[in-house]
């Protein structure tokens, strides 16, 4: 095709796509490449970057004890919040779907609200306040389960549990809505046919009819849940402070913020970002493969 004819056919399409695509490349694609490039340098934002080869990665993996704590915490945190929040989204969407429309609308709002309410999660710091004025402490003391107030958010043994709880509380977001929509989109005749074919109870129905029918939403929801669970950082800092006691709430993201925003070791911070990027994409691939086996 001559370039004139090509432009005549596709010019308007490229014109339509251009503003978004240029910004997307500039703020999402190029930054990933820059991060990978910077990860092989030493860069403090004042002097030009200096090439250091694999030195950042070697230091990160073999000489940075705090990074290993962060990796351990991140895996623990995402291994719990990712799957649990995903199951919670699915089970609640499934329960809600059986209800009458008005009740369903109300409960959808109730479950979805925490994820869109911004800083409201900070109310948990009052509920879990470390003195006897904290609501949780007060109730547990009155019930005789504990005898003195627990410092929930500063005690390294408990602060991770509290952050996980709060994260789950605000995790019924986009995936949850996608599942509700997916369930509503399933044709009722599928269920009638299933009942004739010998589906006995709700669990068989869920596994053999519902889940396969909403597989596209399940895959979309998984992507969102995994990304969110690995991205935990700023909310944890808001709850338990930075650095948290004994680094008990330290994650890869907070480690990244430490080197990027506080120490200005941009090369090192970029190495952390690059590793996190690779781990997230790897996990996504693995989970997408698992989800294809449903039903």
């Amino acid at each position: 095709m001559r370039s004139g004819a090509f432009f005549k056919k596709w010019g308007i399409s490229y014109l339509f796509a251009a503003p978004y695509v240029i910004l997307f490349l500039l703020f999402t694609v190029v930054p990933v490449l820059i991060a990978v490039g910077l990860s092989f340098t030493s860069y403090n934002m004042l002097q030009p970057p200096v090439w250091v080869g694999w030195a950042n990665y070697v230091k990160l993996l073999f000489a940075d004890d705090v990074f290993l704590i962060a990796v351990k915490n991140t895996f623990l945190f995402s291994a719990i919040t990712g799957p649990v929040s995903y199951m919670l989204c699915l089970i609640l969407a499934w329960f809600i779907n059986e209800l009458k429309p008005t009740v369903r609308t109300f409960l959808t709002l109730l479950f979805y609200a925490p994820s869109i309410s911004g800083n409201v999660f900070m109310i948990w710091t009052i509920l879990f306040s470390g003195d006897a004025y904290g609501w949780v402490n007060s109730v547990l003391i009155r019930l005789g389960i504990i005898y003195e107030p627990v410092r929930w958010l500063t005690n390294p043994d408990t602060l991770m549990c509290v952050t996980i709880l709060v994260t789950l509380w605000m995790s019924l977001g986009t995936s949850f809505l996608a599942f509700i929509a997916g369930l509503q989109g399933i044709d009722d005749t599928l269920y009638e046919a299933g009942a004739l074919d010998g589906i006995r109870n709700r669990w068989q129905e869920l596994w053999f009819i519902t889940l396969p029918a909403m597989r596209p939403q399940l895959m979309f929801g998984a992507i969102i849940s995994i990304t969110t669970s690995f991205a935990a950082g700023s909310n944890i800092v808001a709850l338990v402070g930075f650095p948290s006691t004994d680094y008990a709430g330290h994650t890869v993201i907070t480690h990244l913020m430490d080197y990027g925003n506080i120490r200005f070791e941009m090369g090192y911070a970029s190495a952390i970002a690059t590793l996190l990027f690779l781990v997230m994409l790897g996990t996504q691939q693995l989970v997408q493969r698992l989800l294809r086996k449903i039903g």
């Binding site: 503003p19 703020f27 059986e98 309410s117 609501w135 269920y191 992507i223 995994i226 690995f230």
Partner: protein
């Protein structure tokens, strides 16, 4: 038989209905209690806020906390209306640009399938798979190179290219806008801009309402503090966070602030709930 709030279905045992209802009540309480606590605390007078043992519900509701918030706002060095204006500008310009550019691009990808569109869409799906924190450092460098630091642009323009919005819009157009409809308009002599604006966009109303909500939510809560230093350009969430940061003495005001910040996005969602659920219905990923 079965419980009155349930729709009837053959494969449902009443026992199972009761069990799942029980679980719904427990999880519902877990979700609702902190929200109720925020609302109840916002109306607590001082003597109830620091009561020992603490009480969950308010006894003598009062508007004192909201009055205190009003006084703190009036006393602030930069008038609170300025913070509100900043947030309104960032939210409205950011949301409008995002909806327009993402819809235009989604239309071209979904309906024109121009050479290269598959690559672009795959990149967008991949970008959903990693957290934006990964690109925070290069983004800061880019924005400072462009000279956008300490201006609205630093927050608004990157928000135009958010990937979730484009993804949802493209999936919705794939499934909800028949090619024949567009073809009919073209035969009637409509230009491609008219086809997009007068035929496609009215058809995908639920999708752009959803984009508005998602973009609104993220920009409304944006403190912008990474990029914006001048006090008179800072946002409402930033200013309100500063008020709450006053510590224990601001506990009641803090609850009032939380309530104020929460009401807006929740209301926007309530109004558009049906559209959002409809849009999410097309969000699925094909294997």
């Amino acid at each position: 038989m079965g419980l009155p709030i349930y729709r009837k279905r053959v494969t449902r045992s009443s026992g199972g209905d009761v069990a799942s209802l029980l679980m719904l009540v427990i999880l519902g309480a877990f979700m609702a209690l902190p929200m109720v606590y925020v609302i109840s605390s916002a109306f607590k007078p001082l003597n109830e806020l620091f009561l020992f043992p603490p009480r969950f519900f308010v006894r003598n509701p009062t508007l004192d906390n909201f009055k205190d918030l009003g006084i703190l706002m009036a006393e602030s060095w930069v008038p609170i209306s300025r913070y509100l204006l900043n947030t309104v500008i960032i939210t409205s310009v950011g949301t409008a640009g995002h909806v327009l550019f993402a819809s235009l691009c989604a239309f071209a990808i979904s309906k024109h399938r121009f050479p290269g569109s598959r690559v672009i869409f795959n990149l967008i799906v991949i970008s959903l798979m990693f957290a934006p924190e990964v690109t925070a450092i290069p983004n800061y460098l880019t924005i400072s190179y462009l000279g956008w630091i300490d201006s609205y642009r630093a927050v608004i323009i990157p928000a135009w290219a958010s990937s979730l919005g484009l993804f949802l819009m493209k999936q919705f157009m794939d499934q909800m806008v028949p090619d024949s409809l567009l073809e009919a308009a073209r035969i009637d002599g409509a230009s491609e801009v008219q086809v997009f604006w007068q035929v496609a966009m009215p058809t995908v109303r639920p999708a752009w309402l959803t984009l508005i909500i998602l973009s609104f939510q993220s920009l409304w809560g944006n403190t912008g503090s990474t990029f914006i230093y001048s006090e008179n350009l800072k946002t409402l969430p930033y200013a309100l966070n500063q008020i709450v940061a006053g510590g224990i003495a601001r506990a009641g005001v803090g609850a009032a602030v939380a309530l104020v910040m929460m009401i807006v996005p929740v209301t926007v969602f309530i109004v558009n709930q049906r559209s959002v659920v409809q849009t999410m219905g097309t969000s699925g990923l094909k294997e």
